[in-house]
Structures are given as structure tokens and as C-alpha cells.
Symmetry: C2
Subunit: 144 residues, 2 copies
DNA sequence: TATCTTTGCATCGTGAACGATATAAATTAT
DNA sequence: ATAATTTATATCGTTCACGATGCAAAGATA
């Protein structure tokens, strides 16, 4: 038996699991808004700055168009945003929020606080949280 | 603009992203073995202890049968394992490694070291790594 | 024994991820 | 200006993740 192949020794398995559990925890909060977690990420990008191209959003979320395009199409069907072909550059697709998409921000504004409360609210110190965030940023930058 | 809805403030987005990047980083190592990352997790569970039920594996990976059954069926088609109906309990499905599955451990044994090298190898201290692992365990236990 | 409930697994449908490939517009090179 | 290359999206196929549902075996209750 190879010790290093034990599940308990693996950081990656922990990250994989905690990410799934977090996504599940978001569901009851996002379901009423008609959003999935990845769609919520797209909405956050657009709430921060409207009228971005598919590429802009992709760079922000580190996702390629093979993931984004079908997702944006679904969100367009839901009436959250519209996709218009670029004026200056005919290759680009510009993504803009609809009124429905804009108004959704108001309903979403308490979700972050609600989520933090849910987990690290009581069990985790701010120091522990910050060192985790830094550690993850180190990982992300190291492999980008 | 709601400050708390900014992407940069979100631990979850970091976890989501780093998990995707890690899975991508595994690919070149796992492709030669004919495994995906989730399949690699299943193999680690079985290398640690052969002949487990679908439920055993699921509890270990915190995955339900709606994810595991199709995955195990694919792995059975690849000849990595066999699924036999339970003898004592007729409801259970027992998962056992084939010779091919057993021999694969030898080829996989250097993957963990290779992966650690890839990221935190140089950029991350052991202390930082440990505090991350503890932080994630705290999160996982807090929301399970 | 007959019925009810629980348990273990399978199936289905939808929404991601992502490698591979395609396509048209824009840019560069010849 | 024509051809070659790059860029921005889109499409396709496969694998996961997961809620919902189905079903048969096992266990509990009447």
C-alpha cells in the first residue's frame, strides 16, 4: 500500500469535496432566484460591470467559451441577459443585463452574509480564514 | 453596487476556481492511465481497501449513487473493476478491482509527489499548507 | 402472514466543465 | 490586394454532479 495514495493525505480531495459541499449549500439560497452557482458567478461579474464580452467574463472567471456560451444561452432564455453581436468587432458577443437581471441584485445582496454565517460564522477565526484565502491564491497563481 | 457581491471578496469562488485548475493539472498525469480525476479518487479508495460496496465508496467520497453508479459502470467497461450483486444482502453491489485495476496502482504511485511538486512545491510553506488543510477540514465538518 | 417502512442501488433529466474542432471576422504578411 | 495567421465565439461529445424518482430486498410492525 502506497501511503501517499491515501485519500486522507490529499489536499486536492479536500478542495474537491468542500467545493461540492459549498455549491450544495448555495442551492437553497439561489433556487428562489432561479440561479445555479456558476450562473450566480456570471451575474456577480455583470453586476460589478455591465456590458462585457464573453471573453471579458471568461477572463474574470477563468472559464473558456465552451463553458460560458451554453450557460449564457440558458441565462438569455431565462431573461436575465441579452447577447448582441459586437458593433466595433464583429467577432465579439456583448453580454448585457436585462431589467430582470439588474433587479436580481437586490434579492441577492444578502446571500454572501448568509453563507458566511452558515459555515465559518462560528467555527472559524478571521485569521484562519485569511490564511486560507491567501493559501488558495498562492495555489491559483502558482498553476495559472 | 453591493460590496459584498464582489467576486474578489468571495472564498467560494477561489475554492471553485482552484479545484477546477487542480483537476486540469491532474489531466496530463492521469490521461496515460486512462483515468479521470473522479475515477482516480475511486481507485484510491479501492487500492486502500478492495471489495467495497457502492455505499462504502460513496460515504468515503461523500458522493451519492446517482454519481457513482454511472461512473463505476464506465470503469467496469474499461476493465478496471467488476460489480457483483451482494451475496449476504441482495441490494448491495460489491465493487472489486480487476488485475488491471490492481496493477494500475504501481503506475499511479508517483502522481501525488509529482502534483505537490507542481504547485506548493516551491511557493508554499508546510505551515501554510497545514493551516489550509485544517481550514478546509473545518469547513467540511461544519457543513456536513 | 400481510403490510409498512427503510435501505441500497439504478435511472433519468439538466446543467456544468472541458478537450477538440469549426467558423467568421480581424490582423498581419507577402 | 491576396494569402496566411490570429482572435472571438460557437458547437460537439464525453464525463461529472445532483435532484427526483423508481424498485426490489431487507427489516419492522401489526
Amino acid at each position: 500500500m502506497h501511503e501517499q495514495l491515501k485519500l486522507s493525505n490529499q489536499l486536492c480531495f479536500r478542495l474537491y469535496t468542500v467545493t461540492r459541499l459549498i455549491t450544495q449549500a448555495y442551492r437553497p439560497l439561489l433556487d428562489p432566484l432561479g440561479l445555479t452557482y456558476p450562473q450566480y458567478l456570471v451575474m456577480m461579474v455583470l453586476w460589478e460591470q455591465d456590458n462585457q464580452t464573453v471573453g471579458d467574463i471568461g477572463r474574470r472567471l477563468m472559464l473558456d467559451t465552451n463553458t460560458l456560451t451554453p450557460m449564457l444561452q440558458r441565462m438569455e432564455r431565462e431573461g436575465l441577459l441579452v447577447r448582441t453581436h459586437g458593433i466595433s468587432d464583429g467577432r465579439q458577443t456583448l453580454v448585457s443585463l436585462t431589467k430582470k437581471g439588474i433587479h436580481l441584485e437586490e434579492k441577492a445582496k444578502d446571500i454572501p452574509a448568509c453563507m458566511s454565517q452558515n459555515w465559518h460564522g462560528d467555527t472559524m477565526s478571521n485569521d484562519q480564514l485569511n490564511s486560507m484565502v491567501n493559501g488558495i491564491d498562492t495555489l491559483i497563481n502558482g498553476m495559472r
